[in-house]
């Protein structure tokens, strides 16, 4: 390896996951379709997973990868319950955006 070849450091990975998290946040704020909002939440979860793995490698610690394993399981359960709720709501009404769900507004 000569000096011209740049090896990506863990800071690069962390910055990438920060960008990914920001895109997911903006997506949740902007989009009105509940399914797409869920996908944006998945983007944020994946950004956090990438952060865990990167810091696990940086700290020389396997526990970062173990936590990602649990995050995957919780994300799967969250998607299942969330989509079940969306299907149950959409069956009662035809509107597709979350703006139509204003019944709980006081």
């Amino acid at each position: 390896m000569n000096a011209l070849i740049v090896v990506p450091t863990s800071t690069w990975y962390l910055l990438l996951s920060a960008v990914l998290f920001t895109i997911g946040t903006v997506g949740v704020l902007v989009r009105r379709n509940p399914l797409v909002m869920f996908m944006c939440i998945e983007l944020m979860l994946n950004a956090v997973n990438l952060t865990f793995v990167t810091l696990g490698r940086r700290l020389n610690d396997i526990n970062g990868q173990a936590i990602v394993f649990f995050v995957l399981v919780v994300a799967a359960a969250e998607v299942v319950v969330g989509l079940g709720i969306i299907v149950a709501i959409m069956r009662r009404r035809s509107g597709i955006t979350v703006d139509d769900l204003a019944e709980l507004k006081g």
Partner: protein, 185 residues
């Protein structure tokens, strides 16, 4: 070589994430999500987390996105969101400001905290070293089944609760909704 992999995976991740946010058709957004998830899996492989890369592809791309597509098809694929009109006045502008602020904060935190991270773990076994091809899986398994065995058991309870709750939520009237619970398992 690692730089090349990093650049390619970064392009995959960013293009996919922007596709999720900007595509107005939900099916296109779901397929863009698959692109992002594969990019993340490539990043996991590049950081010697091979088992997590496999789980990422199987669980996320194989199960969760399929679940999303199931629900999209169930609710009707022709419902395209109108992205031209803004439902709340000034909402996108505020969202952009929030995004820029969040990115600035995260970047500042990464740069200021970069030097305070000190390697203190007992090391990550790597498959690249050559002598043990299953080193990553063995080390991860010994961590999960010894240090985190309690959390692992609680996870099984969480999955049972999620499956039962979804069946209860989707059970009424039509039988087709059972697919969502069945695909979850």
């Amino acid at each position: 070589m690692e730089l090349f992999v990093f650049v390619c995976a970064t392009v995959m991740i960013i293009v996919g994430a922007l596709g999720v946010v900007l595509r107005k058709h939900p099916v296109h957004a779901a397929l863009s999500l698959v692109l992002t998830l594969f990019g993340i899996a490539v990043m996991f492989v590049a950081q010697h987390a091979e088992f997590l890369a496999a789980v990422q592809v199987i669980v996320y791309a194989g199960a969760i996105v399929v679940l999303f597509l199931f629900v999209i098809m169930l609710l009707g694929v022709d419902q395209v969101e109108n992205l031209k009109t803004e439902p709340l006045a000034g909402q996108r502008w505020v969202a952009g400001v929030v995004g820029v602020c969040l990115l600035g904060l995260l970047g500042a935190a990464i740069y200021t905290g970069a030097d305070s991270v000190i390697a203190r773990g007992e090391g990550i076994a790597s498959n690249v070293a050559g002598d043990n091809p299953d080193a990553n899986i063995q080390q991860l398994a010994s961590s999960i089944f010894s240090d985190y065995v309690m959390a692992f058991e609680v996870t099984s309870i969480l999955l049972v609760v999620a499956v039962v709750g979804t069946v209860l939520l989707a059970r009424r009237r039509t039988a087709g909704k059972q697919q969502t619970a069945g695909a979850a398992k």
